[in-house]
């Protein structure tokens, strides 16, 4: 408070003081006030009671004879892990940090002869006697993050992301010949597909957000991620519109729209890849033909969504058009590979929540972009054909989603 009184006269009196200095003054006063407050030991405020320790287990890795946990301190005070219990038995362990500060993480490595297929409960005992517990539902060795593993994740990503999207895009020649009414229906169907994916991303994101550390925002991260993606796409869209207007005049809209759809689906597939990679890493994913086929059918419809906008009034010629289509396919599908890599090697529930949020936000923006194309001649959005298309899209996604055993 004293600092505020001392600086206030100068700023009002001196016109010679540059603007940016005046802008800094409140920050300096704030800094001084915080320093004084902390220096005096928070005068007037007394802590009530004993703070609750909050330790979240973020990641569990199983290696032969070892269980490795990444733990994060969500609570306000430093936490010291002092003992480890696996299935009601004290066990030997080591940790990377003796004391975990607020939001800090530590890796706890436990010696334990775990047996494949069995369930384990791990409890970390803190210095105050509190316990942080986590469960290993079905023990299986975690994959080593080697070249072969990244290759496998890339293959998985290509199977569930790139290839199905590319196949879906093969509908383009057919789309160019269909009746405008059918086209409108298909665009509405795309809206349905996207709506399903958006809801799915939101739910998966909040699910992940509820599992691990809450210190970074929990479910708020999903919505924060959604806002980031939505606004980023609005920005990208505005830039593209501006550039197209300069270069080619009006009429290049379809490709811009297709690009945005591909980007939105790509962000969604990033989250999907992350979920696949992380479940594979912790052994809870049954890798197999069913999974790949399920995802492939599910994601083929995404290819349709990308090419639908360019089917009518498309201007680019042969080679350029092919390049653009391949680019769009990769933009939509390849993030699944990236997601699988991240998910399998550096999985973190907060990160996953944020990434699913990105996917959801991107999809909402794409829906907003496509919606005008569905309007009928009278400018009405929710005409019977559109409603039918949206519902068909939702049902298609729901039905193909049932094929995914996860």
């Amino acid at each position: 408070m004293e600092a505020g009184q001392a600086t206030a006269p100068r700023t009002t009196a001196g016109r010679r003081i540059p603007g940016w200095v005046a802008g800094l003054v409140p920050l300096l006063v704030l800094g001084a006030a915080i320093a004084a407050f902390v220096g005096l030991g928070a005068p007037g405020l007394e802590r009530n009671g004993i703070p609750l320790e909050e330790v979240a287990v973020e990641q569990t890795v199983l290696r032969p004879g070892e269980i490795e946990l990444t733990v994060r301190n969500d609570g306000p005070d430093p936490v010291q892990i002092r003992q480890a219990i696996v299935n009601d038995a004290f066990v030997n362990f080591r940790q990377t940090s003796d004391e975990i500060g607020r939001l800090g993480a530590s890796t706890v490595t436990i010696d334990y002869p775990w047996i494949e297929g069995q369930a384990y409960e791990v409890a970390l005992v803190t210095a105050t006697g509190g316990t942080a517990t986590t469960a290993v539902d079905v023990a299986a060795e975690s994959p080593d993050a080697g070249v072969g593993f990244f290759g496998l994740m890339a293959l998985l990503g290509i199977y569930v992301g790139v290839i199905p999207v590319a196949i879906g895009m093969l509908w383009l020649p057919w789309l160019r010949q269909v009746d405008p009414r059918v086209m409108q229906f298909l665009l509405a169907l795309t809206l349905g597909l996207l709506a399903f994916l958006g809801i799915d991303a939101l739910l998966e994101g909040t699910d992940f957000a509820g599992q691990g550390s809450q210190a970074f925002g929990g479910a708020a991260l999903v919505f924060f991620g959604a806002a980031v993606a939505y606004l980023a796409l609005v920005g990208v869209d505005a830039r593209l519109r501006g550039r197209q207007a300069r270069e080619q005049g009006e009429g290049a809209g379809p490709w811009r729209l297709a690009f945005l759809v591909a980007l939105g689906i790509g962000l969604h597939n990033l989250g999907e890849g992350l979920a696949i990679g992380s479940s594979y890493a912790i052994g809870s994913l049954a890798l197999g033909a069913t999974l790949v086929i399920g995802f492939a059918l599910h994601n083929t419809t995404e290819g349709l969504a990308i090419v639908a906008p360019v089917a009518k009034g498309e201007t680019a010629g042969g080679a350029q058009r092919l390049r653009r289509l391949i680019g769009l396919g990769l933009l939509a599908g390849f993030p699944a590979v990236l997601g699988a890599w991240v998910g399998a090697s550096a999985f973190n529930t907060s990160l996953a929540a944020f990434m699913f949020g990105l996917g959801a936000g991107a999809i909402v923006q794409v829906i907003v972009q496509i919606a005008p194309s569905v309007r009928d001649s009278a400018g009405k959005l929710m005409h019977p054909l559109a409603v039918g298309g949206i519902l068909t899209g939702l049902m298609l996604m729901y039905a193909t989603g049932l094929l995914i055993p996860a």
Partner: protein
């Protein structure tokens, strides 16, 4: 055997049964059960050539138990000393009879129950278990109780006495409020192994936080000379989930596992074992590679059983007598194996 760790194997090797046959003549005179003597002699012969347990250094199958050590100086009491520490009180003569005067002070105190793991205990005289009080049958026992804790407490003694000295809320002096004090007085009767504990409500909490101890009443004629050990089987609910996270004998998890109890081969060992565990209905005591005479509650001079495992409910106790015929390291633990893995496990190290 789960213990394939190099560290443990080395310790086992150090304490192998070298020269075990030398024990036999001694046993011949003193082992309580003649019937088993010949078998023991044969077993000693077999044991003689045997080494320790072979080292199995398979990764992950290794060390179990807590990590680190509890410093007795920080705790203010040492499980090794509690074993043989008896409070016989101050003896005064009043009108021709012996009176033993004890003083117990309730005190809130943070103790370390496993390496690095603190527990906000309620103690008698700053230790858990409280002092082992010892008197002889027929003597007058006078216990001055001072409540230095922040909570009301009592001391309830097991034994035969009038209600006013029973140390429960609502009868006699009832709860002793913080800062208050009282005197409990009664005759030491019957002889045997008993216990004392706080009886304020909620009862489970007042016991589980550490307000208990062993109370030995010796028979008038005494018992044969022996190396006498007090073992109070207890546990600690460190995270308040009404289940114990840590189990032990005399409070510190794995204390006698990491520092074995030293005993002499052939000497009579008498263990006063009290089960004061809360939250679990049963506890047990199992000794490896040996058998013992069991005197439930210690109220009879003849053993009821010759066994290697006894099961005790809450508040149950008994006296165990045995001799170790061989040198070496012999494990003892709760045969409720979960408790053993969570701290209730130890060793006797037998030497000549």
């Amino acid at each position: 055997m789960k213990f394939g760790d190099k560290k443990i194997s080395r310790r086992r090797l150090l304490g192998t049964a070298a020269g075990a046959t030398a024990a036999i003549p001694l046993l011949h005179e003193s082992f309580p059960h003649q019937g088993v003597h010949d078998q023991l002699a044969r077993a000693a012969g077999e044991e003689h050539g045997g080494g320790g347990v072979s080292s199995r250094s398979h990764k992950g199958a290794g060390h179990r138990g807590t990590v680190g050590r509890v410093d007795p100086r920080v705790n203010g009491f040492d499980p090794q000393e509690i074993l043989r520490d008896y409070d016989r009180g101050k003896v005064v003569r009043e009108g021709g009879r012996t009176v033993r005067e004890f003083e117990l002070v309730a005190e809130d105190r943070e103790i370390e129950v496993a390496p690095g793991v603190k527990f906000a205990a309620w103690t008698y005289n700053g230790r858990v278990p409280g002092p082992t009080l010892r008197a002889t049958e027929g003597e007058r026992v006078r216990v001055r109780f001072v409540n230095g804790s922040n909570h009301p407490h009592t001391i309830h003694f097991h034994g035969i006495h009038k209600d006013l000295s029973d140390g429960i809320p609502g009868v006699g002096v009832g709860n002793i409020e913080p800062g208050g004090s009282t005197v409990y007085e009664f005759e030491a009767f019957p002889f045997g192994l008993h216990l004392y504990h706080c009886h304020s409500t909620p009862l489970a909490e007042h016991i589980a936080k550490g307000l208990y101890g062993a109370f030995i009443i010796d028979p008038k004629k005494g018992r044969p000379d022996a190396d006498e050990l007090v073992m109070v089987m207890n546990g600690f609910d460190t995270n308040f989930d009404l289940a114990n996270e840590i189990y032990a004998v005399n409070t510190v998890a794995f204390a006698y596992h990491d520092s074995p109890i030293q005993v002499k081969r052939g000497q009579l060992v008498r263990m006063y074992v009290v089960n004061i565990l809360e939250f679990d209905l049963l506890n047990s005591f199992h000794l490896h590679a040996n058998f013992f005479d069991y005197y439930p509650t210690g109220t009879k001079l003849d053993p009821r059983d010759f066994t290697d495992t006894v099961v005790m409910g809450q508040g149950e106790r008994g006296i165990l007598e045995l001799r170790f015929p061989f040198t070496g390291k012999y494990m003892f633990h709760a045969h409720v194996s979960e408790f053993a893995d969570l701290g209730w496990m130890g060793f006797f190290e037998v030497s000549d």
